[in-house]
Amino acid sequence: MERLIVAGFGGQGVLSLGQMIAYASMFENKNVTWLPSYGPEMRGGTANCSVVVDEAPIASPIIATPDTLIAMNKPSLDKFIASVKKGGLVLVNSSLISDKVNRDDVKTIYVNANEIAHKIGNDKASNLVVLGAYIKHSGLFTKDEMLKTIEKVFAAKAKFIESNKAAFLAGYEL
């Protein structure tokens, strides 16, 4: 079972990052729940989602101790870092978070997602850069499974497929 929390500012694509995992799970015949925070969130406010992936049917969609935390901004890291399971994985968007993670019992990956997204000419795809790094380090899905997922999810917006794949691969190959 993988229990993932993705958190950041509204507008950073944290909900859609979680949804990419949800779609990949469905395409690969795994069970998945995707539960967003909702309400007064807006661009610039905080948003997060909880994603559970499992071979078996999923009971609780509520996550108290995530296996993985993806923190896209500083308030999100501060809010969730203590809850991450011992031995868990933490992905930090180091473009916006200058602090180092103050725990030595988790594996931490720093991704300067905004700079990488900017370099490949797709400023909005910092979430996909982090997704690439997450998939690389978690092994939750293969590279090809995720590329296939990106193609299917963006099928209706075909012009974004290549740049989104590029962002994903840039994160994956870090």
């Binding site: 729940t33 539960l35 909702y38 309400g39 609780s60």
Partner: protein
């Protein structure tokens, strides 16, 4: 295999409604159920149905009253404060013996409260939020797939008994996304005829009147008995519960809807600690699955029952009633829109239950 789609609970409810024959929706926006009217606003048009964003919740439920009286498969949806406003209409619909479907994606209260998930509308839903002697079929799904399955057959049941079916969810259920299998579109031509509906078809055998006014006490009493017979029949046929690891359970956790799911994880965690925990989750909260709960009350292995709910303690009253107070019942709840994690329930059991 049926087509599989990743959908929010709210969207899945709307799509399953249409596949189950719904062709009329009236509602007024409120968080956390807005995806239902949003989806209906474009989707109903595709199948030749009608969508109305009403001027108020009161208007919406009365439009459903009218559409149901004319024989249509009609629904409305809202969240707690909006459902309060609909109560008069719900009572009238019950008095007029009309089938329809009402969705309540419960938020926190009282008053305007908040917009986060809650289960504080239990009493309103199962004990009668409107006036008069009436009952509805109230179903509390715990997953997006269960939302689909229940909505798909909701009008079949509503029409069988000629009463409203209420889906009692919460904000969590409305917002969560899961992969679902969608059943095929039902063909309206196969729906049973409604010899009572005011269809304007011309002269029939009987004059058709949709009304809930009975001025003569004997006539109304006869009507009350007629309705009660229907409610008794419904209670006999429709009560449903899920049981999980109950057979040897010493501590029985019980919860409905999404909380039933959270608690299922708690049961697994307790079992890992060597504690014989089990779960009973009512799927229908009215009719309450009395027999299943009576059995739990009578089970020799069971030492204690814990109800878990997102309220200050409403569901616990039915648990005590239908286990006939044969076992001690403890209460663990969160409110205000806060949600317990499975671990919180485990901690409560370890601390409070012997």
């Amino acid at each position: 295999m049926a087509e599989k789609k990743l959908m929010k609970g709210n969207e899945a409810i709307a799509e399953a409604a249409i596949r189950g024959g719904c062709r009329f929706y009236a509602g007024y926006p409120i968080t956390p159920q807005n995806e239902i009217p949003e989806y209906m606003s474009w989707r109903l048009n595709e199948v030749g149905g009608h969508f109305v964003q009403a001027e108020s919740e009161v208007a919406a439920i009365n439009m459903v009253y009218g559409a149901a009286g004319a024989g249509g498969r009609a629904m409305t949806s809202s969240s707690s404060p909006g459902i309060s406003l609909k109560q008069e209409g719900i009572s009238y619909i019950c008095g007029a013996e009309l089938p329809c479907v009402i969705v309540n994606m419960v938020r926190s209260g009282p008053g305007l409260g908040g917009i986060q998930p809650c289960q504080g509308d239990y009493f309103q839903a199962v004990k009668g939020g409107g006036h008069g002697d009436y009952r509805m079929l109230v179903v509390a799904p715990n997953s997006v797939q269960e939302c689909v399955d229940i909505m798909y057959d909701a009008w079949d049941k509503a029409e069988k008994y000629r009463l409203p079916v209420m889906i009692l969810g919460d904000g969590m259920l409305g917002q969560i996304m899961e992969a679902v299998e969608l059943p095929p579109m039902k063909d309206p031509a196969t729906f049973p005829k409604k010899p009572w509906a005011t269809t304007g078809e011309g002269t029939g055998e009987n004059r058709r009147i949709i009304n809930s006014l009975y001025i003569v006490p004997d006539e109304l009493e006869a009507m009350n008995h007629k309705l009660q017979k229907v409610y008794d029949e419904m209670a006999k046929n429709e009560a449903k519960a899920e049981e999980y690891l109950l057979d040897d359970a010493e501590i029985v956790l019980t919860a409905y809807g999404t909380v039933g799911r959270i608690v299922k994880s708690s049961v697994d965690m307790l079992r890992e600690k060597g504690i014989k925990a089990g779960l009973i989750r009512p799927i229908t909260v009215y009719p309450f699955p009395k027999d299943a709960f009576k059995k739990v009350g009578e089970m020799k292995s069971v030492k204690e029952i814990v109800t878990v709910e997102l309220s200050m303690g409403q569901y616990i009253e039915d648990v005590k009633l239908y286990t006939e107070c044969k076992k001690p019942v403890k209460f663990y709840g969160r409110s205000g829109g806060n949600i317990m994690a499975p671990e919180d329930v485990v901690d409560f059991v370890l601390k409070e239950v012997k």
